[in-house]
């Protein structure tokens, strides 16, 4: 009993493949970022990629709070916006003094701006977690956003402050006028920030953040002050949010008070949560999806925000782990090789679910366009909002889809249980 055998020491060693896998993933990401604009070379896709890249950094920075440390913030845009403002001011100063500072350094300035604000207010804000933190973050958010309209000399009122990214000294012959150069600048920072934020989760601080999230009380009894942990996490989140803000400033060459507002704070919460806060890559998926929806949905429907709300509610109620949570649920099944037994039931369930979703869409669009008289074009079929046939179709799809979907999802659950049992037997599930 006294001398335990040593197999656990062997188990404590790093799995040999993991380091390779680790670098491999980032290498692949780097290659993808380089190649992406060569495949989708139109100006439109380039614009989208830039926005998505910034959104990824922003959402990941938010997840340092929500996912890693368990802090629900309703004012994360404050750091993002202040980072953007600082970046713009520094860019203007650099340009007017002809300082030898190239543009790619500027996001770092944004990061410092975001971090500086976090440093200033963070100690008081992070005294408490939970609802109190959420409320303070909301209050600080509103306070800063409103104050920005009063402090015109710094924030430039509603029009904001403009800058010219090409007025800084060129680097390697790049002036950063063309969007493609900005894209590579953003891509570089996305990669660096993502690696840095991932690395942060693998540090002692990162691990203790998780502990604070799970059980702040117990953390106090293993030597840590949860307040300090939250404060540090808040500063790091502020830093990376500031980088995102700085990149936005470079991309749009403007910073205005809308950067700081509740809409931005809400969007980043949506992104992180829809993507899934429990996994590092969750917010990345969320940022891509939300930005894409934001760009795409707005040209298709005027009530795009309602779809956001509905998707968000759906995720909260039925998949609180977000997209990443859904995906990762399947990992043990894949490893155990039992995923195949679930897929047929998925396919069966997909049909009524899709019908249900289409019914919801049709209902929403019918109401939205009832007075306008626009025709709804759903899967190429035109529906007239004022026609009873449309209402009937919507009702049939919603009610029928719901009833059938309920049955089919029960079958999915059964199939899932069988597959999970097998997976458990094979040792892939706890």
């Amino acid at each position: 009993m006294t001398n335990a055998p040593t197999p656990s020491l062997a188990a404590a060693k790093q799995e040999p493949g993991s380091a390779l896998g680790f670098y491999g993933v980032w290498l692949l990401a780097a290659i993808a970022l380089i190649v992406l604009p060569l495949i989708f070379s139109s100006g439109g896709s380039l614009t989208s990629f830039c926005l998505i890249g910034i959104a990824i950094i922003f959402a990941l920075s938010y997840n340092i709070l929500l996912g890693q440390t368990g802090l629900l913030s309703f004012g994360h845009a404050v750091q993002y916006g202040l980072g953007g403002f600082l970046a713009v001011h520094v860019m203007n100063a650099v340009a007017s003094h002809n300082w030898p500072i190239p543009l790619p350094v500027i996001p770092l300035v944004g990061g410092i701006g975001g971090m500086a604000f976090a440093l200033l207010v963070g100690w008081v804000m992070t005294k408490r977690a939970g609802t109190v933190f959420a409320m303070i973050s909301l209050g600080i958010g509103e306070l800063v956003a409103s104050s920005s309209l009063i402090l015109r000399s710094v924030f430039g009122g509603e029009s904001g402050i403009t800058t010219d990214r090409t007025s800084l000294m060129p680097m390697f012959g790049w002036t950063f006028g063309p969007q493609i150069q900005v894209y590579y600048l953003i891509a570089f920072w996305v990669l660096v920030s993502a690696i840095a934020m991932y690395a942060l989760t693998r540090t002692p601080l990162g691990r203790i953040c998780n502990a604070v999230r799970d059980n702040p009380e117990r953390v106090e009894f293993i030597g840590y002050d949860p307040h300090v942990v939250r404060y540090l996490a808040y500063m790091f989140a502020g830093f990376f949010a500031g980088i995102a803000g700085g990149l936005t400033a470079i991309n749009f060459e403007i910073a205005n008070s809308a950067y700081l507002g509740a809409t931005q704070s809400g969007l980043v919460l949506f992104s992180a949560f829809i993507g899934g806060t429990a996994y590092f890559f969750g917010p990345i998926l969320g940022a891509i999806l939300v930005t894409y929806l934001q760009l795409g949905l707005t040209s298709v429907t005027s009530v795009w925000q309602l779809y956001f709300g509905v998707i968000f509610i759906g995720i909260v109620m039925f998949a609180p782990g977000g997209i990443a949570g859904i995906l990762m649920k399947h990992r043990p099944l894949i490893r155990a090789g039992t995923l195949g037994t679930v897929i047929p039931s998925y396919l069966v369930a997909a049909i009524p679910t899709l019908a249900f979703a289409l019914g919801i869409i049709l209902t929403i669009e019918t109401v939205a366009r009832f007075s306008g008289g626009d025709v709804i074009n759903l899967l190429g079929i035109p529906f007239v909002a004022t026609a009873p046939t449309t209402w009937a179709a919507a009702a049939v799809l919603v009610v029928g889809g719901f009833l059938v979907a309920r049955i089919t999802w029960r079958r999915v659950a059964e199939a899932w249980d069988r597959a999970a049992t097998v997976a458990r037997d094979r040792g892939y599930l706890a």
Binding site: T6, A11, K13, T203, P204, G206, I222, D225
Partner: protein, 249 residues
């Protein structure tokens, strides 16, 4: 030699209700000290006072001679005291391995470091692995703590408590709710892991108490009515009258 724990004339009230009255307790270094008493006597409150979870209304608490009353729990922990909880209190979403590792980090001097890769700290790794071995949870290292069985969670609780290498260990009913066999295993574990350290334990199971403790203090209505070796306590008429007579046959 200074005592490991010294509690001098501590009082604690919640509103108008006084829970702890004139509490005096001395635990010598290296001693295994059990606190017993009927339900509601204030045993957990005493633990909470000593570990800094709550602050005394008046009086003074010393750890290894240094005044600790008024300090925050993490400050007391850093001075060498670690405690467990009666209700399992682990990091539910983190794996067993991570639970123990988190408890090792401060003591190994890594603190709030954000420039070190936690997987590349050999000392932390070895110590964590050693503790997992000690608490027989090596085979469960990658399981989230929330999914462990009850007995396993109790063992993990002890593992987290001792992981930091504190010189004073306080265990709050470590065997509560365990089967007989599990209890035996846990007692052996505690005995081995607290070798050379000071142990303060609250326990209801008298066989555990009398088998493990060097000294015993009896707490009744927030006041220690007797303190001594197991034999002394057995023979103490006050204890018999107040408590033992009903509880231990």
């Amino acid at each position: 030699m200074t005592a490991a724990i010294q509690v001098n004339a501590v009082e604690k009230s919640f509103g108008n209700v006084q829970i702890i009255r004139d509490l005096n307790l001395n635990v010598a270094k290296g001693e295994r000290h059990a606190i017993i008493g009927p339900n509601g006597a204030g045993k957990s409150t005493t633990f909470n006072l000593i570990s800094g979870h709550i602050k005394p209304t008046s009086g003074e608490i010393r750890l290894n001679g240094e005044v600790t009353s008024g300090l925050r729990p993490f400050e007391i922990n850093r001075r060498g005291l670690s405690r467990s909880f009666q209700v399992t209190n682990v990091f539910a979403r983190m794996t067993v391995w991570e639970n123990v590792r988190c408890a090792v980090l401060w003591a190994t001097g890594h603190r709030y470091a954000f420039w070190k890769n936690v997987d590349n700290l050999p000392e932390v790794r070895q110590r964590t692995a050693q503790i997992l071995d000690d608490i027989h949870l090596s085979h469960r290292r990658d399981v989230p703590a929330g999914l462990l069985t009850y007995a396993e969670q109790r063992e993990l609780e002890i593992g987290i408590t001792i992981a930091g290498g504190a010189s004073v260990i306080m265990l709050d009913e470590p065997t509560a709710g365990m089967s007989h066999a599990e209890t035996e295993r846990a007692v052996a574990l505690i005995r081995r892991l607290t070798e050379g350290r000071t142990l303060v334990i609250v326990e209801h199971d008298m066989s555990v108490v009398f088998g493990l403790a060097d000294r015993i203090s009896v707490l009744v209505y927030g006041h220690i009515i007797a303190s001594g070796t197991p034999e002394e306590i057995r023979g103490n008429p006050k204890v018999k009258e107040a408590y033992l007579g009903e509880e231990v046959d």
